[in-house]
Structures are given as C-alpha cells and as structure tokens.
C-alpha cells in the first residue's frame, strides 16, 4: 500500500489532491519551483522539496527532478494532477522503472490515446464511433481532396499531436483543402515537432460532452456519467455542468457504455475522461481521451457523491473498485465556473499580479477549489486558473441561481478576474435555457461583452469612498479630529443615519 505521495503539481489541483491524501492519512510531499516558495501547496504540505527555477520547463516538467525529489523524500507514489507531466507516457514508464507508483494509467494507454490518429484507429477497431475522416496522416495531397469529397465540406484539418486549438484549420471550400493542409502541417511542426495532420468532418453545432471513467487493475470499468463542457473560449473550457441538458436517458446510457468500451480498448486503469463531440441530432463521436484527472472532475464528484482522487489512489493501490455501475446515479445538478486571472474585456489576456483582498462565497451548495490568498502574487509562469467555483442545486434552475449568488459574493481585488464575465453568462438566455453549443460565447458576444450602464449614484459612492480612504491615508481630518475612527472606535459605530434622501 502507498506510504507517501509526492504531488508533482502546483496551484489548486495540488492542494485539492493533498486534501484527499490528508483525509486518507497518507503523508504528502509538495514540490515547488523557486517562485512558488510562498504558494499554498507548499504551505499546505508538511514536507516540501524545491525542484528548480520558475519556468515549468526547468522544474515541473523535468522528469529527473521529480524522480529525485521522490527518492530523496522517500515518496513511493506520485500523483501528477493535470497538465505538466500528467499525460507524459515516458514519465509513467520512468516511475515504473524506478519502482514508484504512478497514480494514473500506464504508458501504453497514455501513448495510444495521446496520438490522435492512433487513438482514432484504436477506437474504430473497438467499435467506438469517431468523426468521419482519415485514419492515417495525410501524405498525399490528392488523397486529401478525395477524402474531403467523400465526407463533404466543411471539414477540420487537425494535428495528430495537437491540442489547445493549435494546428487546426476549418475548411469550408474545396479549393482551400490543399493550402489548409499545408498550413496545418507547418503549424503542427512548429508547435509539436510533428507535422502529421488528419481530416475530420466538421460538426456544425457541436456540443462538447465528456464521460468520466474509473477503471481498476482487475478489469472493472465504470462510468460516472457526463459533463457538458461546451462553454469555451479559445478552445478552453470556462463553464462545465452535469447533467447535460442535451442528452436523453437513452443516449446517456449508450454513450456511457461506449465510453467504457473505449477505455477498455486501451486496457485503461485509473480515472480518465472520454470526450465526445455531439451534434444537435444527438449523433455522438469519440473526440479524444484525457488519461488523467480533469479540471472539471468536481461537478461529477458532487452529483455522483464520489471523491475521484480517493478512487485514483485506491486503484493505484491495486484495490478493486467498490462502486457498482448499477448503484450510481446523478443527484441534482452541478455547475463549475473557472475563475481565471484574466482581462475578459481584452481578449481574455492573462493578468498575473498580487491579490490584495479576497472574499469568498459560502453556504449551502458551494464548493471552492482554489489556492490564492491575500498578499499572494500570481506567478507569470503558469496557468491563469486561480480557483474553481462549484455549485449544486436540486435542479438546474436552482444551481444557476446559486451560482449567480456565489459569483456576486466573490470579490477579488488587486487583479482582473473573469468573475463579472461569468455572472453575465449566468444571465445569458441561451445558457439559462440550456440550449447552447461550443459557439456559445461568439454567438452571445453582444450580450456578454457590452458595457453595462452605470449610474451617477454608484459613481458618486465610489468617489466618496476613494476620497475618504485617500484623506485617511494622508492623515487629513478636515472637521473631526480623527478622520478614520473606524479602526479604533468600534463602539461608536452604528449611529442611525439620517433617512433624508438627497
């Protein structure tokens, strides 16, 4: 059984994993880059190890350093979180060789699912529906034209090693096929060092729906239902929810079964996610498999009532799953909003900086997975995700209203965040009705980005408070002797203010 777990990650996910380890009574080791010395995951852990300079290429991504940290601290297992080394087959393999338990699948599953063309072939063979297109990388440009003729425009050209929207091209006209293939190839080459690209049918109103999988090392594989992740900006998820408004019970059941088939096809063990693309007619196609914990695993945890990190650790320990498919059900509705440090009015530009004040929402149905605190400087080197706000409601309507309330309570000063933007999404008609697809943000641009009218009263309030603070800072006091008695004279609070309206 695992005796000590090294968490090869940082930020909210490192803290989230540590929480479960603590509940299980398993000692933890935090690793950190130089800039992360005051980070929450370092403060949370009782044992820590510095793995080098701040850029992740010199710390969190360096296999040797992570292995060294595990050896030095006596950790016999490593949890990779998401991102960084979590989907690196060589890292999984290296852990095995070093006699360290990698809390995740083996190299075969990671490698097979990591290459999109191999994954497509494997899925086709297993009887899992994939988006119509090629199963080989494009070498002959004339062949490409033939294929596009067969499946019909529009099509997508995609990099085999791709991700995050890089090396992708949408082709609407036949004459664009060859230029697009070439452009995608060169972009893929530059980004991933691999110019293999393939062609897929383009789905017009796509829904991004994924299924959570758990598989033990004894051949038991189950799914924990779906997550709807269609609200995206720059191919990055912003809001996730479960259940999906689109699925019927029949389709849900069928997709779940197919997801289990897909995982079994690569002899998967651990927690994983099968991503599907679903059209308006509920045709669904395998898109890719994420062979790790997802950022949005939280909504599944809430409606299914299962701690997924705990399951991952149990699986890594070789224990059989105790959850049975027939006993699982979705209770109520859960939504997650990702709180990014970014300027939503300026093309979602990341906004690192120092957090000055945080006020977090609380109460029934609220969960926060975060890692920042007052005085913390968000480093420029990593992801702009600072917290995830997860709500639960008996119904979707209740969950949306609760999310609005929670976002209203959530205040972060010092940096720009996506909180206000997320509030607007909760008010957007298409979101409230549940009728949205991956084009949601562009389709609702006017509503989401228009500047809201402010008013003189609010502006004057802001002016008076700024005036008061400024004068207090300078020790100015105009009339009374102490302009800011608030700090010292608590007892004098609360005189009834005049009700006179001005």
């Amino acid at each position: 059984m695992i005796k000590k777990i090294l968490i090869a990650n940082r930020g909210e996910i490192a803290v989230r994993i540590m929480r479960t380890c603590r509940e299980l009574g398993i000692p933890i080791v935090a690793v950190y880059s130089e800039v992360d010395r005051p980070s929450m995951h370092v403060r949370y852990a009782e044992e820590v190890y510095c793995i080098g300079p701040s850029p992740s290429s010199e710390s969190y991504l360096v296999i040797d350093k992570i292995i060294e940290a595990a050896k030095k601290t006596g950790a016999d297992a490593i949890h990779p979180g998401y991102g960084f080394l979590s989907e690196n087959a060589a890292f999984s393999e290296r852990c095995k060789k070093e006699g360290i338990i990698f809390i995740g699948p083996d190299a075969y599953a990671i490698a097979t699912m990591g290459d999109k063309i191999t994954a497509r072939k494997t899925m086709l063979k297993a009887g899992v529906p994939v988006v119509p297109g090629t199963t080989e990388s494009i070498t002959d440009e004339n062949k490409a034209i033939e294929i596009v003729k067969e499946i019909g425009v529009p099509v997508m050209i995609k990099a085999s090693a791709g991700g995050g929207g890089k090396g992708m091209r949408l082709v609407k006209k036949m004459e664009d096929v060859i230029p697009s293939v070439r452009a995608a190839q060169s972009e893929a080459k530059a980004a991933f060092g691999n110019d293999a690209v393939y062609i897929e049918k383009y789905i017009a109103s796509p829904h991004h729906i994924e299924f959570q999988i758990l598989a033990d090392k004894h051949g038991n594989t189950i799914h924990l239902f779906e997550r709807e992740c269609s609200v995206q900006r720059r191919h990055q998820k912003v809001i996730e929810e479960t259940p999906s408004c689109l699925l019927t019970p029949e389709v849900r059941k069928k997709m779940g079964e197919i997801a289990v088939t897909a995982a079994k096809a690569v002899k998967y063990h651990g927690a994983g996610t099968i991503e599907f693309i679903v059209d308006n007619d509920l045709n669904f196609y395998f898109l890719e498999m994420n062979t790790r914990l997802q950022v949005e695993h939280t909504v599944t945890e809430r409606v299914v009532g299962v701690d997924l990190v705990k399951e991952q650790i149990n699986i890594a320990n070789g224990l059989p799953l105790t959850l049975k498919q027939e006993n699982l059900f979705q209770d109520g509705h859960s939504i997650q909003c990702r709180i990014y440090a970014e300027d939503t009015d300026n093309n979602f530009m990341p906004c690192p900086g120092i957090i000055r004040h945080v006020r977090e929402p609380h109460g029934f149905g609220i969960r926060i997975d975060g890692y920042v605190f007052e005085g913390f400087e968000i480093p420029i080197y990593y992801d702009p995700l600072i917290a995830k706000l997860i709500v639960w409601g008996k119904t979707r309507d209740e969950a949306i209203k609760r999310m609005k309330r929670a976002l209203y309570e959530y205040k972060i000063t010092g940096i720009k965040t996506s909180i206000k933007f997320l509030e607007r999404i909760m008010d957007a008609k298409d979101f409230v009705s549940g009728k949205y697809n991956t084009h949601f943000i562009e389709n609702n641009e006017v509503f989401l980005f228009e500047s809201r009218a402010d008013n003189n009263f609010q502006r004057d309030i802001a002016a008076m408070v700024a005036y008061f603070d400024y004068q207090s800072q300078r020790g100015k006091n105009d009339i009374a002797e102490d302009l800011n008695p608030a700090v010292s004279e608590w007892k004098s609070y609360g005189r009834k203010t005049s009700m006179m309206r001005l």
Partner: protein, 170 residues
C-alpha cells in the same frame, strides 16, 4: 477640502467633506449632497450607508496611492485623485513623451520571448517588434505607424513588470 477625482478616465467630479461627526459624514459630490455613514470594516473594505442603502465597497490603492480600483456591487471603477502634483506630473509626462519618443510596454507582467528589431531599425505600420509571454499566452506588440527604433531597454528572457518601458520608438 475639495478634491478633484477622475472616474474611469472619463468622468471628472469634485468631492468635498462638508460635515463630520464620527462615522457620519456629509459629502458634496459636484452639486449633490449625501449624508453617509461610512466605516472601514477591514483593510481595503468600507461599508457605506446612504439613507437605508448599504454598499460594501472593496478598494485597492494603486502604487502611487492616488489611483484606486473601487468595487461596488455592479461595477469596478478606476478612480484617480487629481491633485496639483498629479496635474504637474501629467503635463510633465506628456512632455517627455513628445520629446523622448513613444514607449512600448505591456499592461501585464511577463517574460520577453522574442525581440524582433534592433536600435536604428525602421519599422512599418503594424509590424511586430516584441513578443511577451505571461501564463502560457504570448502577446505580440506592434507599432501603429511607421517608426524608427530608438532604444531597446530589455533583452530576451527578461522578466518585465507591467508598464515597464521595453522599447522606445520615434
């Protein structure tokens, strides 16, 4: 004392404290008089009651202590205190700009990934001169008109602060 304030770089207003009795303060903002009950509840947070309306206001003082981020329920306002010194600096900076050239900088901290020009280069409208990365996102900075590169103040790999001058063009 009357202070001039600018809000969101567009609205100017004059604020005056007319009367104060402990936390009860009468303000005049331009021509409107407000009787308020204002208390500092904790560092960076004020509670202000006007009539029966209550506002929880979070503020953040910028580096020069004169530029505020003020969060009400619906809005985040940028409030600048315009005193004599600020006016003087404003004018002086404007002057500097004209004399010493135009400064290229980034609104966020980040790391310089690539500098595509060197001092003395002539660059065309919309030409990218520098690429800065923050949080896995690269941003390209371009010149808006045909320019000549006067000075390059950073090198590739440097970590830069928000608004730090990177390249001076003229």
């Amino acid at each position: 004392m009357i202070l001039e304030l600018n809000i969101d770089n567009k609205h100017d207003c004059k604020v005056e404290l007319l009367k104060r009795e402990e936390n009860l303060i009468t303000f005049k903002v331009d021509d409107t008089i407000y009787e308020t009950d204002i208390v500092k509840v904790t560092e960076g947070v004020y509670s202000i009651v006007v009539g029966s309306k209550s506002f929880n206001i979070e503020i953040f003082r910028g580096e020069n202590n004169k530029s505020y981020e003020v969060k009400t329920y619906q809005h985040t306002y940028k409030v600048d205190i315009i005193d004599a010194e600020a006016k003087y600096l404003q004018n002086r900076t404007k002057g500097l700009d004209d004399e010493s050239g135009i400064v290229i900088s980034t609104p966020m901290p980040g790391k310089v990934i690539k500098i595509l020009v060197k001092a003395g280069d002539s660059v065309k409208e919309d030409q990218t001169v520098i690429i800065v990365e923050a949080m896995k996102m690269q941003s390209e900075y371009k010149v808006k008109k045909d320019r000549i590169i006067k000075e390059i103040k950073v090198k590739e790999g440097d970590t830069v602060a928000a608004n730090q001058p990177l390249i001076i063009v003229e």
